[in-house]
Symmetry: C2
Amino acid sequence: MQQLKKEHFITHFSAENKPAYKVRLNETFAVETFDCYGGKITSETQLRTEVDIPFINPATGPIEIEGVKKGDILCINIQNIELDEAGVMVLYPGMGVLGEDVKETDTRIIRVKDGHIQFNSQLQFPAAPMIGVIGVAPEKGAVLCETPGDHGGNMDTRWITTGSTLYLPVFHDGALLALGDLHAAMGDGELDGSGVEIGGKVTLQCTKLAGAPAIGMPAVETDRAWFLISSAETVEAATKKGMRAAANRFRAAFGLGFNDAYRLLSATCSLEISQIVNPLVTVRIAVPKAVLPDLFAPGPLL
Amino acid sequence: MQQLKKEHFITHFSAENKPAYKVRLNETFAVETFDCYGGKITSETQLRTEVDIPFINPATGPIEIEGVKKGDILCINIQNIELDEAGVMVLYPGMGVLGEDVKETDTRIIRVKDGHIQFNSQLQFPAAPMIGVIGVAPEKGAVLCETPGDHGGNMDTRWITTGSTLYLPVFHDGALLALGDLHAAMGDGELDGSGVEIGGKVTLQCTKLAGAPAIGMPAVETDRAWFLISSAETVEAATKKGMRAAANRFRAAFGLGFNDAYRLLSATCSLEISQIVNPLVTVRIAVPKAVLPDLFAPGPLL
């Protein structure tokens, strides 16, 4: 199995980046990743306000996926996430949703052992590993690894985890996949501005959909649902964008008019929050498989 | 078992309302409810824009809960929700998050049979009954049944369902409980402005917590989590309010400083959306029981 080392990483998703690695479709490969701080914070004496970190969220890659063409949909099956032994959670005044309530800067090193996060000497809870940053080269320009978008990037979506399949639009031949910013745990919203930030190794397998209807944004599939992942400047704008994509799929799949597609969405789909702390916020429209078995079904199912 | 009929209902939650019914603590009782339109829409020829509905969300009650005092927390165990045979979903331009995309006014009568919603002749999905409006008399004044708040009301929260326990602050002796606005199904967000709106009958049992720490807002308990239910003018304001309540509980339960409580919240709790279409929006902070076994634990657990 190819082991792609973290020494090759990007700071921006861009078609200008030259591939550092190359994998084939259906090949299982492993990707080693830094934490979001590039591994620079390893002690509780290091305060975020005093550590020089020139770029945030380094993403290992770019990885050229052989045989994937512009216009395809890249399907990324996440087979395993192996976490390092310890993660970090920093805080400083202004950080996250309640940043105004943070009065002092401090750092916690948080160990992960036997699948549990040791929050402090008395409080433990199960780890829930996830990938914060994963994406492909965007259609145009360069997008900082800190920012989510239709190319993926810093989506901080906890369903991007072991056993899930992530679907990304492909804007350039070879896709130029990159990933990093693992979390040992993170609640929806990423409410203090971070998860348990950690490095590790992710095992992946890529396939592709050719000729499938474009969703226009990333989507993730779990056993129970499809999640359309929509990023924009506000929760309201991201919600509308994701809802329009879901309503369009209902129209195409079931031959419904707009009103009935909108009703079906309201009765069965949920607005979920991925994160509200990045330069763009990310929401998900959760579409139950009990309603829509295949998000990428091409025409009227009925 | 007492059967409380829907003929006695309120249009505002208020301590000024005289009790229509009286039940004892631990008594199991059934409450018949109208749909949110008071049962006035029964045919697809009736358009919402042409039907005169003088008040929305009539709530059956008020129900005096004997032995419940101001300052207690009312615990409402929802034992069963029995739905009528058909619900309704109206639409008109401007309604819900994508209201600007609605070009025509129309009405759908949607049948519920054998636990499934018959959306149209070809598309069915499982019903997911829930209570849209449930609350007590607020501390001051009169709150329209359309509006959610710290007293409960139109929270449109899908975990307020069979098997859950809802916790409401009690502002007046006897609580003055009322409920209505059932949905046969509704996704988080209530994105088109409605669920499958339906009447029915709810079976409940009330107990109380005396001397428990005040949460300051409703909460609902399921097998896996506690959900703090926070309503405010914006998603941001509701989120901050709910997060502060959750962080306060972590501080009290685990003896943590603010920064560590905030970190624990970010690593383990999720921001969830109940609805974004009512006069105030409603969000939930989901606190896993794996982290906090008892939301109402009085002091340091550790």
